[in-house]
Amino acid sequence: MRTSAIVRCAAPEWNTLREILFSRYPELEWATFARFGWRETTDQLVVTLATIDPPSGSDLDDRVGHVAISEPYSLRMALGAEKHSLAVGVIHSHPENCPPVASAIDDDMDSYYSSYLEGFAPDRPYISLIASTVRGDLSLGGRIFWRGEWLPVQHFAVERTPSTTWASQKPVNRQGRTRERTRRLASAFGDEAADRLRRSTVAVIGAGGTGSAAIETLARAGVGKLIIVDPESIGESNLERVHGSCPDHVRDGISKVALAKEHVRAIDDSCVVQGFVGSLPQQEVVDALVTADVALGCTDQQHSRLALSDIAIRYLIPAIDCGVLLEGKDGKVTAQVIQLVRLLAADPCVLCRGMINPTQIAQELMTDDEREQRRRAAMEAESKGQDGNPYWHNLPQLNTVGYLTTMAGALAAGYVIGWLAGRFDPPFERLQMNLVASYFDVTDNEQTPRPQCSCRRIRGWADQGNVDALVTPPRHWPTARLV
């Protein structure tokens, strides 16, 4: 039973939207139609702003202070909906210091459009959103008509733009009091920033060396909720890197997710942890991930990286992918590289960035039997002097050490805190730094999307872009388990 909704918006769309909505500010309202993707999770409807269809000419009546939409504009949007698969909605502004709460005129408008659009594009949500500034704060409210019911929007996630969600006629979840434990952070970034962190949800994919460092940093910073995903249990070789791990956990065969949950509870038992023994892009995991404000990719698995990139673009979740690499030659360590890749909805996907090896993905996603069969076939080919690579590539195990993974995880968590607090952004697209090179040999690699890539087309399409999903979960994986 879905009882509420989340609305997500990427920065390019928000910038356009802000210009339209506040074009007659501060006294007068304005509006636009927009198209949205959506995804139903077990208890929420997640809606993503895909495209804005701005008004032009006499689409809106500029002689009145409130929003009056012309019939041709409405009809154009309704007929357009017959040709696309996205949901349609109206977004309008309220005058300054007038909360984003539906007025009687708004009630009439929503009642009309929810029924009108149903006639043209049935079985799609109708979205009605309101934006205003209240005492200088960007304030957002709204509701969604879906399956015969109005769902209140309980959370707006606008990329890199702090906002206050209004529901039930008041701001949602305002804490108002800085806790002693985060006082130093609040003195650095402000009480408001600490409050935003308390209201935020961060997903961490991978709870190994890098992920556990990020989790610890985020929990100590006072993030309100963590979604943690990892398919593995703690092994002895993890003890050197995984924060909170000890030999008892190895002996007990505890999952990395359960360990992370236990560790977060010890740090701050008010931090809510939703842990999954599973992987991206399993549906249960995606359901949880689309509710997060930010996601961190902390695995060296190529399929997970590809899935995170896909989700960042289709579901508008700002993400950072972290990786580390240790190289050596002649008994010397020649490279200790940390890589952080920004994955915003408008950034090129990891395919455009050339970060993906399909052969490695194929091997990661095979069954154990398939892997064994492939390895045998490769050995047999090589024993006959033939090329074994079509069957199996021996990919080197990436070397890594705890201080490197801790550094990468903490660094990435720092940028997440900056995003959530609205205080700073990652100043890179794809950062690489080598700890054993002079001046760390820092590089930033800006890349442009490939013209034929679907990532340019499906931004914010959510489930309506499923046909363009970059990777899918194999059938043989066990169902993701909520810890």
Binding site: P358, I361, A362, E364, L365, P390, A469, R475, H476
Partner: protein, 133 residues
């Protein structure tokens, strides 16, 4: 498996008069029915069915391998046909997967999921069935 994507690719084939179906038989396969084959070889049938496994994680992972009915006259003559990569049951028949890897240095270029799919794999299969030993 991205069912929507595969069905869209098979629709492209259908528009070109080539019938292909998505089968779920334990794991997923695409069955290409009646592929034109063996034109230059009078002793061989002029058409054959070919089965191709849907790779786990598709389209993240490349399409690989191709299977023929175990009693197919093409099997000993196609590239990789004598190097069995497994026997599968599907569509009420027994198939042998051949060691055919067009996207692994096998002539089909590196896998690019923005260009390649089961519709373009059909072109690889045509060439595979044409270049016989």
């Amino acid at each position: 498996m991205s069912r929507e994507r595969i069905l869209k690719e098979l629709e492209i084939l259908r528009e070109g008069q080539q019938i292909a179906e998505l089968l779920s038989a334990g794991r997923d396969y695409v069955l290409y029915r009646g592929i034109p084959a063996g034109g230059a070889h009078p002793s061989l049938p002029t058409v054959t069915d070919v089965i191709v496994p849907v790779p786990n994680g598709y389209p993240g992972a490349a399409i690989d391998l191709a299977g023929l009915p175990v009693d197919s006259a093409f099997l000993p003559r196609v590239k990789g046909g004598r190097n069995s990569q497994g026997i599968v049951q599907a569509d009420g028949r027994t198939w042998q997967l051949a060691s055919y890897h067009p996207h692994q240095n096998g002539g089909g270029g590196p896998w690019d999921q923005m260009k390649n799919g089961f519709h373009t794999y059909f072109d690889q299969l045509l060439s595979w069935l044409e270049r016989l030993d």
